[in-house]
């Protein structure tokens, strides 16, 4: 009875040693590190992509309308819009002082003249998409949440970023700064963020 047990034990030990040797060949410390890096790296890549996206979303050109205030903001210092301009029921101004009263489909050509683009407006009051005052993580979660982003899926965010109103941020007319990334890079990083899992910072 003792000899067969020893034999079995030896076979088991041998199998274990063989398995460890084989594992050592295929899962070297370098290979293990690569696997870990890939799984963590995708998340890190997504976070990095969103931070780039957020650098645009938090620029004055975006924040001045993506505000929780009752009306738009103005300028690179985000001061309240002159003339007590209000968001209105549809985001396009109050009943008799519509955004279109002053904002045309293109920028006024003179310094401090009204900027313009097609569909000039704020987000509507029921989904104000307000980012001003939020952390980058909070903005990220708001951007992903259909209840807060105008009922958009993640892929739906891309067409919004291609609208003439959003593109205006890169052609804001004299006296206004542009976002820190080019529009092309901004959309590219947004797509990268979505494709890598749309991770959000804490």
């Amino acid at each position: 009875m003792i000899q067969p047990c020893r034999l079995s034990l030896l076979i088991c030990l041998g199998a274990m040693i063989l398995a460890l040797v084989l594992a050592g060949v295929s899962c070297s410390p370098f290979a293990l590190a690569t696997i870990q890096e890939n799984s963590l790296g995708k998340d890190a890549q997504s976070l990095q992509a969103f931070r780039a996206v957020a650098s645009v979303l938090t620029s004055p050109r975006c924040l001045n309308c993506h505000t929780s205030t009752d009306g738009p903001l103005q300028g690179d210092d985000n001061h309240p819009h002159a003339m007590n301009v209000k968001r209105g029921l549809d985001g396009k101004g109050s009943a008799a002082l519509r955004c279109r009263a002053c904002h045309q489909t293109e920028n006024a050509k003179f310094l401090h003249g009204p900027p313009g683009a097609a569909d000039w407006q704020l987000p509507p009051p029921n989904t104000p998409m307000a980012w001003k005052g939020l952390t980058i993580g909070e903005i990220c979660r708001a951007v992903k949440d259909p209840a807060k982003n105008g009922n958009r899926s993640l892929p739906d965010l891309i067409p919004h970023m291609e609208t003439s109103l959003v593109r205006w941020a890169w052609n804001p007319g004299p006296g206004r700064t542009v976002p820190p990334l080019s529009h092309e890079e901004f959309v590219s990083r947004l797509k990268e963020w979505i494709e890598t899992g749309a991770a959000c910072p804490e």
């Binding site: 003339m83 008799a96 009263a101 002053c102 003249g113 009204p114």
Partner: protein, 156 residues
């Protein structure tokens, strides 16, 4: 130069003009409708307010190409016989002092009443905040708008 067609106070207009010409210039220089005033030229004061398809706009920053095919209404076209409630109330309250800003004030007020038959003080503030009056006739403007609204409601 381009051919631009639109209506002003219900009359068809056809002009050979640079499409970027401000509507205010067209109204005053080409069409002789000098009731609409030049104030700041930058959409900051409201003196040049007219209606385009019923919506108040600042004609000093509106290129004429933007009104192609549309209806423009100026202070001259608010009514042909001073019968618009805004005109009657303005006279009754004697709103103007120097009067320069008043065509713009009246066009904004008329735009407000076209969408809100019983505006509150707050509604009036929101609608009229873009129309400046250096004489300070704001209190009379507010009173006249309330009066005009009441006139319009009682005549329905």
């Amino acid at each position: 130069m381009e051919t631009t067609r639109f209506k002003v106070n219900d009359k068809p207009v056809e002009l050979q003009i640079d499409p970027q010409t401000p509507l205010l210039w067209v109204l005053r220089e080409q069409l002789g409708l000098t009731g609409t005033k030049f104030g700041c030229g930058m959409a900051l004061c409201g003196a040049c307010t007219v209606h385009v398809d019923g919506t108040a706009v600042r004609s000093c920053v509106t290129p004429v190409k933007a009104v192609a095919g549309r209806q423009v209404r100026t202070i001259e076209g608010l009514s042909t016989d001073r019968s618009h409630p805004i005109q009657r109330a303005w006279l009754q309250v004697q709103v103007p002092q120097c009067g320069y800003c008043q065509p713009g004030q009246m066009m904004s007020a008329a735009a407000l009443l076209s969408v809100n038959s019983n505006p509150s003080d707050s509604d009036i503030d929101d609608a009229m905040a873009g129309n400046l009056c250096r004489c300070g006739t704001y209190a009379r403007i507010r009173k006249a708008i309330h009066m005009a609204a009441e006139m319009a409601r009682s005549e329905k």
